[in-house]
C-alpha cells in the first residue's frame, strides 16, 4: 500500500448548481453557477488557480472534447485544464486529479469542475447510443436499468431473498431518498413519495420500476482544493480534508469469467477496502458518520452498502428495512436525496456528493443537517455491474 494522501489536501471552497431539468441553461450557465459559488466560498481570486480538472461523461450530446470548454467558459488564465471521463465516476475523477496536483506540490490551488447537460436529447432517460463500433456488433441491446435490474435478479438468487422482500427493501431505499430530497432546495425532485406509489409504479426493466431509477438531471458542481496549511493561512476554520481517494476498474473477469455470480460489485469491495486503509479506518460501520453512494438504481445502493463493508453480505436488505440508513438511522445514507432525488448529471455527481459532505462537516446543511458528522464516504459506480469503474472518497474534519 502506498503512503496515501490522508490530510494532505483540504477543500477550500465548493459550489453546486441547482439540479434538475434546466431548460433555461446550457452547460456553460451550469458551470458558471457552480463556479461562482465555489470561488466565492474559497475566497481566492481566479488568477490564483494553478490547474483545473474538468469532468463530463456523455460527450456525444455535450460540450465536446478537451479542456477548452471549461477554459473558455470561465475565461481561465491559460492554465492547464485536463478533461476527464470515467463514466459515472467522472466527477470524483476530476476531484482526484486536483487533489493529486495539490498533494504533489505541483499546484497550490486546483479546481475540479464537473457538468452534465442531459436534457437536450428530446426523450426521457439517459442519452442512448450504440457504443463502440465492435460493441455494437455483439453487446446486448441493453440500457442502464436493464443492466442493474440483473443485479437484483442475481442478488435474490445468491441470497435466497424473495422478490417481495427485495421489492420492499429497494422501495424503502427510494422512499428514504425522497424523504431526504424534500429538504434540499437544490434537489431535482423535492417531493416525498409514499411506499404504495413506489411499489405500484410502472416497470422500467423488471424488477426495477420507475421509482427504482434515479432522475436524469442537468447540473454542475465544483471544488477548489489546496493544502490544509494554506487553508489555515487564509484564515479558514472548520477545515474539511481528504482522507482517501481510491478507484477500482473492472478487468473483464466479472463479464467474462464464471467466477462472478452477478450479485455484488467486485470493484467496490476492492476500492472501499483500500480507502479504509488509506484513511486508517478500522471499523467503518462504527467510524463513518454518513454516506453518499451511487444510487443510480435503488438496488445499486442496497448492494453497495454491503460492498462498502457496512452491511453483512446478503443482509443489506434487512439493514435497509430496519432504517439503518435513514436520516434518523445509525448511518444516514443520501441525506441530500442522492442521485435518486438530488439528481444525476453524470459528470457532476461525484462532486455533488462531496459538496454535501463539505456542507455537513461545516454545519451548513440547513434543514437536513446531521448531528456532528466527522467522517463521510462518497462512492460512484460507472458502467454496469458486470463491468464498471468504482470510485470511493473519504473526507472528514481536519483535526
Amino acid at each position: 500500500m502506498a503512503r496515501g494522501i490522508k490530510d494532505k489536501v483540504a477543500i477550500l471552497g465548493m459550489g453546486c448548481s441547482k439540479f434538475g431539468e434546466r431548460w433555461d441553461s446550457g452547460a456553460e450557465e451550469l458551470m458558471l453557477e457552480a463556479y461562482k459559488e465555489c470561488i466565492a466560498d474559497a475566497g481566492i481570486d481566479a488568477k490564483q488557480i494553478n490547474a483545473a480538472w474538468f469532468s463530463t461523461a456523455i460527450d456525444e450530446v455535450h460540450v465536446g472534447k478537451s479542456g477548452i470548454p471549461l477554459s473558455t467558459t470561465l475565461r481561465l488564465p491559460n492554465i492547464p485544464v485536463t478533461h476527464v471521463e470515467n463514466m459515472c465516476a467522472s466527477g470524483t475523477e476530476a476531484f482526484r486529479g486536483a487533489c493529486y496536483a495539490v498533494a504533489s506540490g505541483a499546484a497550490d490551488f486546483a479546481l475540479a469542475l464537473g457538468v452534465e447537460k442531459l436534457k437536450d436529447t428530446g426523450y426521457g432517460g439517459l442519452p442512448g447510443g450504440r457504443g463502440a463500433p465492435l460493441q455494437q456488433l455483439w453487446n446486448a441491446n441493453g440500457t442502464a436499468p436493464g443492466n442493474f435490474a440483473q443485479l437484483a435478479t442475481a442478488y435474490m438468487t445468491a441470497h435466497g431473498v424473495s422478490a417481495d422482500d427485495l421489492k420492499k427493501a429497494i422501495g424503502h431505499v427510494s422512499w428514504k431518498s425522497h424523504q431526504n430530497g424534500a429538504k434540499n432546495p437544490k434537489a431535482h425532485l423535492q417531493k416525498a413519495v409514499d411506499m404504495e406509489t413506489i411499489l405500484k409504479a410502472p416497470m422500467i426493466a423488471s424488477p426495477l420500476g420507475l421509482f427504482d431509477c434515479c432522475g436524469v438531471s442537468d447540473g454542475a458542481a465544483a471544488a477548489i482544493v489546496t493544502t490544509p496549511e494554506i487553508a489555515k493561512s487564509l484564515g479558514k476554520s472548520n477545515i474539511v480534508s481528504v482522507k482517501a481517494l481510491q478507484l477500482s476498474v473492472s478487468n473483464g473477469s466479472e463479464s467474462g469469467h464464471n467466477s462472478w455470480d452477478g450479485s455484488y460489485f467486485h470493484t467496490t469491495r476492492i476500492a472501499s477496502k483500500k480507502a479504509y486503509e488509506e484513511a486508517g479506518i478500522k471499523n467503518p460501520r462504527n467510524e463513518v458518520s454518513m454516506f453518499e453512494v451511487h444510487d443510480c438504481f435503488s438496488v445499486t445502493e442496497l448492494v453497495t452498502m454491503e460492498d462498502l463493508h457496512i452491511s453483512e453480505t446478503g443482509k443489506g436488505w434487512k439493514d435497509v428495512l430496519d432504517g439503518f440508513y435513514d436520516a434518523d438511522g445509525k448511518i444516514p445514507c443520501q441525506i441530500d436525496g442522492g442521485l435518486k432525488c438530488f439528481g444525476h448529471p453524470i459528470g457532476a455527481s461525484g462532486l455533488r456528493m462531496l459538496y454535501e459532505m463539505y456542507l455537513q462537516f461545516q454545519g451548513r446543511a440547513g434543514a437536513r443537517q446531521l448531528k456532528d458528522p466527522r467522517i463521510g464516504m462518497t462512492h460512484n459506480l460507472g458502467g454496469a455491474p458486470r463491468e464498471n469503474v468504482s470510485s470511493v472518497a473519504i473526507v472528514g474534519r481536519f483535526e
Binding site: 455494437q136 441491446n141 435478479t153 442475481a154 422500467i204 426493466a205 463479464s255 467474462g256 469469467h257
Partner: protein, 481 residues
C-alpha cells in the same frame, strides 16, 4: 452412388392465426373467408431467409461435420442481399470458409430443387459433400390470399456419396417462361395472374410431360412412386398432376398448408424433409417444383435412412409453436406498419465492415477462445486470458460456442430500450464449459425466462441499417431450449 446423406429443417416459432388475419381484413376482403382456417408460420422480427437457412443447415449437420462441406447452395427468392453473397454469410455462420464453393440460387419457385440438382451433381462428380439450403420469407400485400397461404421456413439437405439415405435415381427439367406470377425489381410483393389459367395452361400442359420424361429416364412407372411431392397454392393441382401421370392418389404428400403455409422456393425441400422423416427403405420419392418450367427429381430411400442420427427435423420445429393472434404485430415485424418506434430507434446502426471482417469468426461464428495454459473457455477471444488466476498472453485457440447450451445467470425484461418486440429480454448467459456474455434473448416469454433456464444459441438479425439500404447485422442470441 450419389444422393442425400442428411436433412434438416427450420420453422419459426410463431404461428399466425389465419382467423385473426381474416378478422382484421374481412371488412375489405370478405372473399378470403374460405382461407381463414389453421395457421401459418411467421418469422420473428429478427429472422430472415439467411437466419432460417442457418438454422436448417445446423439441424442438417447434426450428424455431419460442417468443415467437410465443399459446395454450399442457398436457394431463396428473398435473399437479404442483392449483391453480397448470401450463401457466404451462411458459410461463415457455420465456420466454413476454406475449400468452399458458395452460390446463391434464386429467381424462381423452383430455385430449391434446382439447387438440389446442382448439389447432387456436384457431389456425384467427386466434388465432396454439398449443402443445399433453401429458405423464403416472402412479403405479402395486406388482405391478399398470399398473406394467408404463405409461410416462412427453411430446409437443408446434405448431398454426398457416403451413407446415402436417399439415392438419386434421376432428374429432369424443362425451363419455359410461363409467368404465373412475378415480383419485379421495384416491388416487395408478388403479382399473380388468374389461377384457372395457371392451372389449365401452365401446370396441366407443362408438368405432366416433364414427369413422364423423368419416369422414362428412371425406367419407372407412375405407380412406382411412394411419395409425390409437389408444392402448389392450389391444393387440387398436385392430385390432378399425379393422376395425369399414373401416380397413386395415396402417394400425394400433404402440402403442410394447415399449420405451416407455403414456404416459397424452400417448400419442395421442406416437404421432402417431411417425407424423409418417415420414409422406408425402397420408397421412391418424386419431387416436383413448378416455376417458369419444372424440375423433377426421383429419389430412392435406402436402409441408411433408419440409421440417421436423430435431429429436430421438420416435425421437431413444428412442435415448437406459439400461436400469434396479433395481426398488427405481423405487419409491424414485416415493416408494413409505420409504427411510432420512438427516438431510441433512431440511433445510427452503421457497421464498420473492416471490424466485421476482422471479427467475423466471433460475430458470425460465435467462436470464442480456450486458453492453452489454464484451459478456460471464454468469449470473446482476447489477447490476454480472462481467468483472474492466469492472464496468459496470446494463449487462446479458437473455440466454437454456437453449438453449446448455456444457462441464464441473470436477466431482465427491459421496457426502456427500443425493441421491435418489447419488452426486450436479455441477460448474462454462462456456458458450463466456461465463458459467458450478456446476450439478447429471442423467442422468449415471461414464463420461459428464469434464472437457471437452459438456452440454445441461434443466429439472428440484431439490427437493420435502413439508412444504408438495409444492411442486416447478424449475431447470436439465446433462445429457451
Amino acid at each position: 452412388m450419389v444422393g442425400i446423406v442428411a436433412y434438416g429443417a427450420y420453422v419459426p416459432r410463431l404461428r399466425l392465426s389465419r382467423q385473426a388475419v381474416y378478422d382484421a381484413n374481412k371488412w375489405f376482403a370478405a372473399g378470403l373467408r374460405g382461407l381463414a382456417k389453421g395457421e401459418r408460420s411467421m418469422a420473428n422480427w429478427d429472422e430472415d431467409s439467411i437466419t432460417m437457412a442457418v438454422e436448417a443447415s445446423r439441424d442438417c449437420l447434426t450428424s455431419h461435420k460442417a468443415e467437410d462441406v465443399r459446395n454450399l447452395y442457398f436457394a431463396s427468392t428473398t435473399h437479404p442481399f442483392k449483391d453480397r453473397q448470401n450463401a457466404g454469410v451462411i458459410g461463415t455462420a457455420l465456420n466454413i470458409e476454406q475449400n468452399l464453393l458458395a452460390s446463391d440460387v434464386g429467381g424462381s419457385q423452383k430455385a430449391g430443387t434446382s439447387a438440389l440438382i446442382a448439389g447432387l451433381n456436384a457431389s456425384k462428380n467427386g466434388g465432396g459433400p454439398a449443402l443445399v439450403a433453401a429458405a423464403d420469407k416472402r412479403l405479402t400485400r395486406v388482405a391478399s390470399a398470399n398473406e394467408l397461404n404463405y409461410g416462412d421456413g427453411a430446409a437443408a439437405l446434405l448431398c454426398g456419396t457416403e451413407n446415402v439415405i436417399a439415392k438419386l435415381v434421376g432428374h429432369h427439367s424443362v425451363s419455359m417462361d410461363f409467368v404465373d406470377h412475378f415480383r419485379g425489381d421495384e416491388s416487395d410483393f408478388d403479382y399473380n395472374w388468374e389461377e384457372r389459367w395457371i392451372r389449365d395452361e401452365g401446370y396441366s400442359k407443362i408438368v405432366p410431360p416433364a414427369i413422364k420424361a423423368a419416369l422414362a429416364a428412371c425406367k419407372l412407372k407412375g405407380a412406382d412412386i411412394s411419395h409425390f411431392i409437389m408444392p402448389s397454392l392450389m391444393p387440387a393441382v398436385p392430385k390432378q398432376m399425379a393422376k395425369m401421370c399414373g401416380v397413386g392418389e395415396g402417394a400425394v404428400r400433404d402440402l403442410l398448408g394447415a399449420n405451416l403455409g407455403d414456404t416459397g422456393c424452400a417448400h419442395a425441400l421442406v416437404m421432402l424433409v417431411d417425407a424423409l422423416e418417415t420414409a422406408k427403405e425402397g420408397d421412391k420419392i418424386m419431387v416436383v417444383a413448378f416455376g417458369q418450367g419444372v424440375d423433377v427429381l426421383v429419389l430412392e430411400v435406402t436402409a441408411e435412412n433408419a440409421r440417421l442420427p436423430k435431429r429436430k427435423g421438420l416435425s421437431g420445429w413444428m412442435k415448437r409453436r406459439k400461436e400469434e393472434t396479433n395481426y398488427m404485430k405481423f405487419l409491424a415485424f414485416n415493416e408494413m406498419l409505420p409504427i411510432d418506434k420512438g427516438m431510441r430507434a433512431e440511433f445510427d446502426k452503421k457497421t464498420a465492415l473492416s471490424i466485421l471482417w476482422r471479427k467475423r469468426d466471433m460475430i458470425y461464428g460465435l467462436v470464442g477462445g480456450k486458453c492453452r495454459v489454464c484451459g478456460t473457455v471464454q468469449f470473446p477471444r482476447t489477447p490476454v486470458c480472462v481467468n483472474p488466476n492466469c492472464h496468459a498472453i496470446d494463449s487462446q485457440d479458437p473455440y466454437n460456442m454456437a453449438g453449446l447450451e448455456a444457462n441464464v445467470m441473470s436477466f431482465t425484461a427491459d421496457s426502456l430500450t427500443y425493441s421491435p418486440d418489447p419488452p426486450a429480454y436479455y441477460g448474462m448467459i454462462t456456458f458450463p464449459e466456461g465463458g459467458r456474455f450478456m446476450a439478447d434473448f429471442t423467442d422468449s416469454d415471461k414464463e420461459q425466462v428464469k434464472v437457471g433456464a437452459k438456452m440454445r444459441m441461434t443466429f439472428r438479425i440484431r439490427d437493420n441499417d435502413q439508412m444504408r439500404g438495409g444492411f442486416k447485422r447478424y449475431f447470436w442470441k439465446a433462445a429457451p431450449v
